[in-house]
């Protein structure tokens, strides 16, 4: 982790310098009424977004994981779609939608417009996180409960307590992401702390003051994590099902089709509407923009998929290692360290990476795509570690201890016990890492080596003065590439599992 920690320590150290003099001058400067107002607004924004995302995400996660809802896999994939488009592009499409309505413009260019868009952006993450928690619940516990009481009571008294870590994780992840989001509030002219950080960097070149402002976000995020740890400290986690047991699926009965319609309506609202807006602009002049978009993006598609895949593997590897250390070895400072890194805004992370790695000694990293992978690691390892940690918490220590007593070494225990039990979770983490890496721009745009732009960067740079139709067409192409690649990964995983099951049974 020195790859990410040292650059951030470097810039944290810089934040204590004002015009070459060491001290608290930058921090004293930011403690004023204006910063407080911006901070409160940022916190309000993050609170509303995380609450809405978690509630809606939890609702859909339940029905997609625990019921016999028709076309579940279809919904599972396409509900993720808002994550595939950069928030900036989603904002553009929703602005184009709302300006056609009488009060639409006033709504979208407001605090609540930002809440609306960010909730749509982050609800898929909540769905993923909470689904993951729900799918690991031992079916026997639910069946035992059903012998005594109604399913509603089972949900309240068995399922909900077991999925609490996932719900809290979802809330905190979205909270921190919303708190450090810049592009949507900036575009909709809503002033929050991140827009102030950007102004300090870009208009005043006052890096130290910008860093001091960024530290406020970091401290808040640390406070949240500590609160989460304190709240969940006494919670007991019963074992998850063995790999041969599936999660309990509830029959919806007469509620099946009304609930199916609710899911369809949400899909229409969250992704089809912006895609329709983008399509209307793309195909306004026939297919010309679409083919031009493919032509422009073709050189960048391979870069994007390669970096995202590598990023996902690296996030999986480091996420597992840190989760294991944190959960099983009870090393508490790992959580805090990773959260600090996660809470740092992308721009600050990017500047930190440049200042640390842009030296003759580290040029081999800085001039190569590895600097991009390090940026992904810094931005998202907290998420992968958190998700894997939640899964590891549900494996009782007695399983590993028994194996250890019988002489199984660490790698054997991982191979035979831990990894098989959480295989599906690891795959989910890989997918999340892939999606986030593919869409990451804030830090990547500052560090990518010249000539190695990814799709998102190409879109952002072409956007300035390109016709709206071309920008929309490029967005659609990116969406298509993302959906196809994720669909392919999911298909390959299912094939792999089938082959593995077949080979084990023979």
């Amino acid at each position: 982790m020195f790859l990410v920690v040292l650059p951030l320590l470097n810039i944290l150290f810089d934040s204590f310098f004002k015009e070459g003099i060491f001290g608290l001058a930058n921090y004293l400067e930011i403690f004023n009424k204006k910063t407080l107002i911006l901070l409160v607004k940022s916190l309000e924004l993050a609170f509303f977004v995380s609450t809405i995302s978690t509630v809606i995400g939890g609702f859909f996660a339940f029905f997609l994981t625990k019921t016999n809802l028709p076309f579940k896999n279809f919904f599972k994939l396409f509900f993720l779609a808002p994550l595939f488009l950069s928030p900036y592009i989603l904002t553009l499409s929703w602005v184009d939608f709302f300006v056609h309505f009488e009060h639409g413009k006033a709504f979208i260019y407001s605090f609540w417009g930002v809440v609306f868009i960010l909730s749509l952006v982050f609800t898929p993450l909540s769905i993923l996180v909470i689904s993951s928690g729900l799918s690991n619940i031992n079916a026997k516990l639910e069946e035992a409960g059903l012998m005594m009481t109604t399913y509603q009571n089972v949900v309240l008294n068995i399922i909900f307590p077991l999925v609490k870590p996932a719900i809290l994780s979802s809330f905190i992840l979205v909270f921190v992401l919303a708190l450090s989001e810049f592009s949507v509030p900036a575009f909709l002219s809503v002033k929050v702390l991140t827009t102030e950080i950007f102004t300090q960097f870009s208009a005043f070149y006052n890096y130290e003051l910008a860093l001091a402002n960024a530290m406020i976000l970091v401290f808040i995020s640390i406070f949240l994590l500590l609160s989460e740890r304190a709240y969940l400290a006494d919670a007991s986690f019963l074992s998850m099902g063995t790999k041969s047991q599936q999660s309990k699926i509830v029959e919806l009965g007469s509620a099946k089709y009304p609930l199916f319609m609710v899911h369809l309506l949400y899909l229409f609202f969250s992704i089809i509407t912006p895609v329709v807006m983008l399509s209307m602009q793309s195909f306004d002049a026939g297919w010309a923009y679409f083919f031009q978009a493919i032509n422009l993006l073709l050189p960048n598609i391979i870069n994007s998929l390669l970096y995202a895949t590598m990023g996902a593997f690296v996030l999986l590897l480091f996420g597992f290692v840190f989760a294991y250390i944190s959960v099983k070895e009870k090393v508490k400072w790992v959580d805090i360290l990773l959260l600090i890194i996660f809470a740092v805004p992308s721009t600050v992370l990017g500047i930190g990476l440049i200042k640390f790695f842009n030296t003759p000694n580290f040029d081999v990293i800085y001039s190569s795509f590895w600097i991009i992978i390090i940026a992904y690691l810094g931005k998202f390892v907290f998420i992968s570690h958190k998700l894997i940690g939640n899964a590891l918490m549900q494996i009782p220590n007695s399983l590993e201890e028994s194996a250890e007593v019988l002489g199984a070494g660490f790698f054997k225990r991982m191979q035979k016990i831990v990894l098989p039990l959480i295989a599906d979770k690891l795959f989910m983490v890989f997918i999340i890492g892939f999606i986030f890496s593919l869409g990451e721009l804030g830090a990547t745009i500052l560090v990518y080596p010249a000539g190695s732009a990814v799709m998102g960067i190409k879109l952002y740079t072409i956007m300035a003065n390109a016709p709206q139709g071309l920008v929309s067409a490029m967005s659609l192409v990116i969406l298509l590439v993302t959906v196809l690649s994720i669909g392919s990964i999911m298909f390959l995983y299912r094939v792999f599992k089938q082959i593995l099951r077949f080979s084990l049974s023979t």
Partner: protein, 332 residues
């Protein structure tokens, strides 16, 4: 399995190591990629030198690339900085990040468009203009001066980009330089009183006028001409042709200090400063050549037909630094 993983990582590291090639040049540019990339590709073909480019984004409003150059100061990767206005080039000069290069190609470019020590040289100029929607403003209703925007009939009907960034910041600094502090502040206060809409960027101003959300807005000539290509309902006007004139903003090129490919950087600068490049930029984005006798199409304005604002770019850059705190407060 472990060995395979290790071998893969080492292999990828090996192939990803950048080899310093003699036949390449790295350029960072704030000029819109849609206009700058074709020029750079042409240079690549003609000179046989690979161009590695980093472009700026709509979101970072011409400051992203600049911040990267500043952050990379101690170990520069950029050979040439191609800016859409002189202000960013002057920032680099003041921070001792660029060096002077007196390109022989720039001999007939007027002196007011060059730094005295050639830390930056201008070419292909844009101007600040008012773009308007013909459905919302008839010809006789179109403002002729920036001061007309203070009139009640334009209340809530005009837009500007965020004055802290990009060419809008340059425009405001030039108003302060030309009008003096009191008159400039009075003008800005009048804008606020008249409910000026502050958009996120020049592109956003263009888009809002194009969509009919707003009647008119201040932007640059390349944005304005792109808008006119997209819709016949768009018109432009050069403000204050009978008064203080319109701000003219040349593109600039600067050679970076201690850059890895200094010689190739000079070749690229020579190419960018050529009449051929100016002709291409005139055709693609109506940018006005600074060389004499460059053939352009009829829709491209000429500097000979525009009354420019009389400013000194160095002093305007200094003025911008002085007024930024005020602009931030004004924009809030």
């Amino acid at each position: 399995m472990k060995n395979l993983l290790l071998t893969t990582i080492l292999f990828l590291t090996f192939i990803s190591c950048s080899k310093e090639s003699k036949d390449e040049v790295t350029v960072y540019t704030t000029v819109d990629q849609i206009f700058s990339e074709p020029i750079l590709k042409d240079f690549e073909k003609e000179a046989g030198i690979k161009v590695k480019a980093i472009y700026d984004t709509e979101e970072t409003k011409s400051t992203g690339v600049l911040n990267r150059i500043i952050a990379e100061k101690n170990n520069p990767h950029c050979d040439v900085f191609w800016s859409g206005d002189p202000i960013r080039a002057i920032v680099l000069k003041n921070r001792d990040i660029s060096i002077g290069y007196d390109s022989p190609i720039a001999k007939d470019i007027p002196e007011q468009f060059k730094d005295k020590e050639y830390y930056w040289i201008g070419f292909s100029a844009r101007a600040r203009v008012l773009v308007y929607n013909k459905k919302l403003l008839k010809v006789d209703e179109v403002p002729e001066s920036i001061f007309d925007l203070l009139e009640p009939k334009y209340k809530g009907k005009f837009a500007i980009a965020n004055p802290l960034f990009g060419t809008t910041s340059f425009h405001f600094a030039s108003l302060f330089s030309t009008l003096g502090e009191n008159k400039a502040k009075a003008l800005l206060a009048g804008f606020k009183k008249n409910d000026v809409l502050i958009a996120t960027s020049n592109g956003d101003v263009k888009k809002r006028v194009l969509n009919g959300e707003i009647a008119c807005g201040l932007t640059d000539t390349d944005d304005a001409f792109t808008a006119m290509k997209e819709s016949k309902e768009m018109g432009i006007v050069f403000l204050d042709q009978k008064g203080i004139g319109s701000l003219v903003m040349p593109n600039t090129v600067s050679l970076m200090k201690n850059s890895p490919h200094n010689a190739n950087g000079k070749r690229l600068i020579d190419y960018l400063l050529s009449k051929e490049t100016e002709q291409k930029l005139a055709i693609s984005s109506a940018q006005m050549p600074l060389h004499k006798r460059v053939k352009t199409s009829t829709n491209v304005p000429s500097l000979d037909n525009i009354v420019p604002m009389k400013i000194n770019y160095e002093q305007t850059a200094k003025k911008l630094e002085e007024i930024q705190g005020y602009l931030k407060t004004w924009g809030e």
